[in-house]
């Protein structure tokens, strides 16, 4: 427990527009900038998925106007196979890095972590500002690939070598497109490393008086655990990207083996290892799955508790389980490589921890679900998305049972089963976490309420829609439908095309439902009903700020002092059924764990 406010970065409120809204040092502004970037990225990523889905449902159909985006990629509006793969690569990269990593972790974490620990700002505000702007540059470097002569890379977000490392001879976009991809992700890693450093230091050193680690809200714990993962995972991906760029521009052969022949030309490479890229990539890639989902777990726990009006059955078990996920996430990455040609004994070594990771996941789901028992659950847009998160996480999680086993992976590897699995468990679930966080914290961030009716419409359409899209993906995978095909020409795939058409229609409707959210977000930002300081009657420090949105230094003249565990709901106090962390009022506590 520390009173370390003297160490918190203190800077005066900026006065110029540029320092206030653009190059701001304020963690709240940086959080909102991350959110805006993630929103833009999500809309682009979703738009790309629409184009891909239309192509997969009706391969020869012309999409009006598509030729304007790429004359060569879509002559007459009909997508070429390479353009499909290029859109797919961009969809995956944009979504995984610039949405799923950015929004739940960097956006909400930046805004609320310092406030939840009781700090005035992050300890290194210049690093924090740099973290956002570096990420911003990374995003545009990636998008720039659309504007180079042969377009973005077609190698998928995993960029398997040697296809990604041999240069333009590998196919359209495999030259400049890959270099831009690797540069973008390398830059992104720098941003995330700077962010992780700030998050960890904030949590460890800037906790206000009375805020012990165990009194941190679950969202703060989730961000802290995620930043520990980020610090190690991105530190591996960044050098991997540098090596990949060197293979392109410096004549090295880190990832290209000898004696490869492409287009009847013997390639001028020798001695590299194809599997090295996979090891480096997945050593990052699997923790990345948890980097995307653990913040969502924290947000969902935080939102649910406020809406259940009671704490979780165990605060401590949830924290330990999230920690266990983080540790195990490094031991399981080889399950992406069961059929890669890696030593088959390694597959078994990676299979057991992969199966074992279901234990902390199950504990988390059971604690969430059985904490609902006997609660006074409030149904609103935020709690609906939090509950939807649980449903999605379970649905995506159980398919992990299959993929954790090498022998079953023989059948399901590289099929739509995998696509369904990860979209539900890390894509949609994480998105639901973002939505829950948005509906919950929007009043604090803007001083206005979001429209609840529109929020519920958004939820119902999204919940039904995502199941309609991603459950059939599992069925397609079980029938052996291979992923990353731009058209289905194999005989056995023909009967499955109507399923793809169904999914396309569902995807278009579900995507359109997200526009309801965007409208609600923008409309409420300017014309929403004014929000009080604590509209949801919550306990944690973000609801104790003297104004809404919080002032520049978060707490005005006096830093708060923390007297309670984070979730004192279901008590009898002068304010109602809860007592705030910063309130000195003594009440009979519930479920306090020491």
């Amino acid at each position: 427990m520390h009173d370390m406010s003297a160490h918190a970065a203190q800077h005066h409120a900026p006065t110029t527009f540029i320092r206030k809204h653009v190059f701001s040092l304020d963690h709240k502004v940086i959080g909102k900038q991350y959110y805006a970037l993630a929103l833009l990225a999500a809309l682009i990523g979703m738009f790309l998925s629409w184009l891909m889905r239309i192509h997969l449902g009706w391969t020869n159909a012309a999409i009006p106007g598509l030729q304007l985006l790429s004359k060569n990629g879509a002559p007459g509006g009909v997508m070429t196979p390479e353009y499909y793969l290029q859109l797919m690569t961009m969809h995956g990269t944009i979504m995984v890095f610039f949405v799923l990593t950015t929004a739940p972790f960097a956006a909400f974490g930046n805004y609320f972590l310092p406030i939840q620990v009781g700090a005035e700002d992050m300890p290194f505000p210049h690093f924090n500002m740099m973290s956002f702007w570096v990420t911003f540059v990374g995003f545009w470097v990636l998008v720039a690939a659309f504007f180079v002569s042969d377009g973005p890379s077609l190698g998928g977000w995993t960029q398997y070598a040697p296809l990604s490392a041999v240069g333009a001879v590998g196919g359209p976009g495999e030259g400049t497109g890959v270099v831009l991809w690797a540069a973008s992700i390398g830059i992104f890693c720098v941003g995330q490393l700077l962010g992780a450093l700030n998050f960890i230091t904030t949590t460890l050193d800037l906790r206000v008086k009375g805020m012990s680690m165990m009194r941190l809200p679950l969202s703060a714990w989730a961000w802290f655990i995620t930043s520990c993962m980020g610090l190690t995972a991105f530190a591996v991906l960044m050098p991997a990207c540098i090596l990949l760029i060197l293979d392109h521009v410096a004549g090295t052969s880190f990832f290209v083996a000898s004696n490869l022949v492409i287009n009847d030309q013997l390639q001028p490479h020798s001695g590299g290892s194809t599997l090295l890229w996979q090891h480096l990539f997945w050593f990052f890639g699997h923790p990345e799955v948890y980097i995307a989902i653990v913040p969502g777990m924290g947000i969902v726990s935080h939102v649910l508790i406020a809406n259940m009006r009671k704490p979780m059955l165990s605060h401590r078990v949830l924290i330990y389980s999230m920690g266990a996920l983080a540790v195990l996430s490094y031991m399981v990455y080889g399950h992406h490589m069961f059929v890669s040609g890696m030593n088959p004994f390694s597959s078994l070594a990676f299979s057991f921890p992969t199966l074992a990771i279901t234990i902390p996941s199950t504990i988390i789901v059971l604690i969430w679900t059985f904490s609902l028992y006997g609660s006074k659950l409030r149904i609103n847009s935020a709690s609906l998305f939090a509950l939807g998160f649980i449903s999605m996480f379970v649905s995506g999680g159980v398919s992990g049972f299959f993929l954790a086993q090498p022998s079953i992976d023989i059948m399901l590897h590289a099929t739509y089963f995998v696509v369904g699995h990860f979209h539900l468990v890390m894509g949609v679930a994480a998105m639901f976490g973002i939505f829950a966080g948005t509906y919950f914290w929007f009043p604090k961030m803007t001083g206005r309420m979001m429209n609840e009716t529109l929020g519920k419409v958004h939820f119902v359409l999204s919940f039904i829609g995502t199941y309609a899209i991603f459950m059939p993906f599992h069925y397609l995978g079980m029938a052996g439908n291979v992923r990353r095909y731009s058209a289905f020409v194999a005989d056995y795939l023909q009967p499955l095309i109507p399923v793809h058409q169904f999914i396309t229609v569902a995807a278009l409707i579900t995507g359109a439902a997200q526009l309801v959210f965007v409208y609600n977000l923008i409309h409420s930002r300017f014309w929403g009903a004014p929000a009080s300081d604590n509209p949801w009657e919550c306990t944690s420090l973000e609801w104790s700020t003297p104004t809404t949105p919080p002032p520049h230094n978060n707490f005005g003249d006096h830093l708060p002092v923390v007297y309670h565990d984070p979730y004192q709901y279901g008590v009898k106090s002068s304010t109602g059924d809860y007592v705030m962390q910063a309130s000195p009022e003594q009440v009979a506590t519930v479920n306090e764990e020491k």
Binding site: K376, G480, V590
Partner: protein
């Protein structure tokens, strides 16, 4: 709204399970000697995952139905046994499941990967390249001629870079675009990539294995049913990936011998 949501969860859970129970989509009939264990493992996992899925969704829906929008004076309760009971239950149930699936899975995996091919297994080489498979049979001498990458030339149809003028072993090699194998005979498949990563996937054979450029991997299997099956590439290999496929013909020994003779004559 809460009750409506609970009903949606139940309806979606049941609707999701129906195609599985009715086997609307799924793997085709197994034609391999090792596939039965994989299929069994799949059914066991489906049962366990399916029950977990349905139970979790039902309990979630039940609690949402039961405990939402209660009267303001309603009492807050905790689930009997609290977190400890749940943690123990999760550890025991999921732990047992993990151990069971893990141990059983080892057997299925070992059957494919930990047993060497028998001495009598028929060696066939498959070479993957953007965007086609080519197969090579060693001919009467039983030995494959060496590959000279610099000689690989699609224009002259020297797909393997063979030097038949100088390498005696290469002279009788038979290179084909279609893979034929005799039924009930073990095949030792030697996998080689000439350019980038590819994969060899035959659903009916319960076989999927990546090609690793620079590293030749091998696989062995026995097909038990005569027929024509599709081989597809499952590792993204470039713009023509979707169209990279070949056929596997499982023939009687006699038909296979005749086919090989005919192919040899065409070299």
């Amino acid at each position: 709204m809460a009750k409506f949501f609970a009903v949606i969860i139940i309806v979606i859970a049941i609707a999701s399970a129906i195609p599985i129970l009715r086997h609307t989509w799924g793997a085709p009939e197994d034609i391999s000697t090792h596939g039965a264990l994989i299929d069994e493992q799949m059914s066991e996992t489906m049962a366990e995952a399916g029950i977990s899925f349905l139970a979790a969704q039902f309990v979630l829906a039940l609690f949402i139905w039961q405990y939402s929008n209660r009267r303001p004076d309603a009492k807050i309760k905790n689930f009997p046994g609290g977190a400890t009971g749940l943690v123990i239950a999760a550890m025991l149930l999921v732990g047992a499941e993990v151990v069971a699936l893990g141990i059983f899975g080892v057997k299925a995996w070992a059957d494919v990967y930990f047993t060497p091919p028998s001495a009598s297994a028929i060696p066939i080489q498959v070479q993957a390249g953007q965007f086609a498979f080519y197969f090579r049979y060693p001919g009467p001498d039983g030995t494959f001629g060496p590959i000279h990458p610099e000689l690989i030339n699609e224009g002259t149809q020297n797909f393997y870079g063979l030097d038949t003028d100088h390498d005696a072993d290469a002279k009788d090699d038979i290179v084909t675009a279609e893979m034929a194998i005799p039924v009930n005979k073990e095949i030792h498949l030697l996998m080689h990539s000439k350019d980038v990563g590819h994969s060899f996937y035959v659903r009916e054979l319960r076989v999927q294995q990546d090609f690793v450029p620079g590293l030749d991997v091998s696989l062995h299997f026995t097909a038990t049913k005569i027929g024509r099956y599709e081989i597809v590439c499952t590792q993204l290999c470039g713009l023509g990936h979707y169209n990279m496929k070949a056929y596997l013909e499982v023939k009687s020994q006699e038909d296979f011998d005749n086919w090989l003779k005919k192919e040899a004559a065409m070299q």
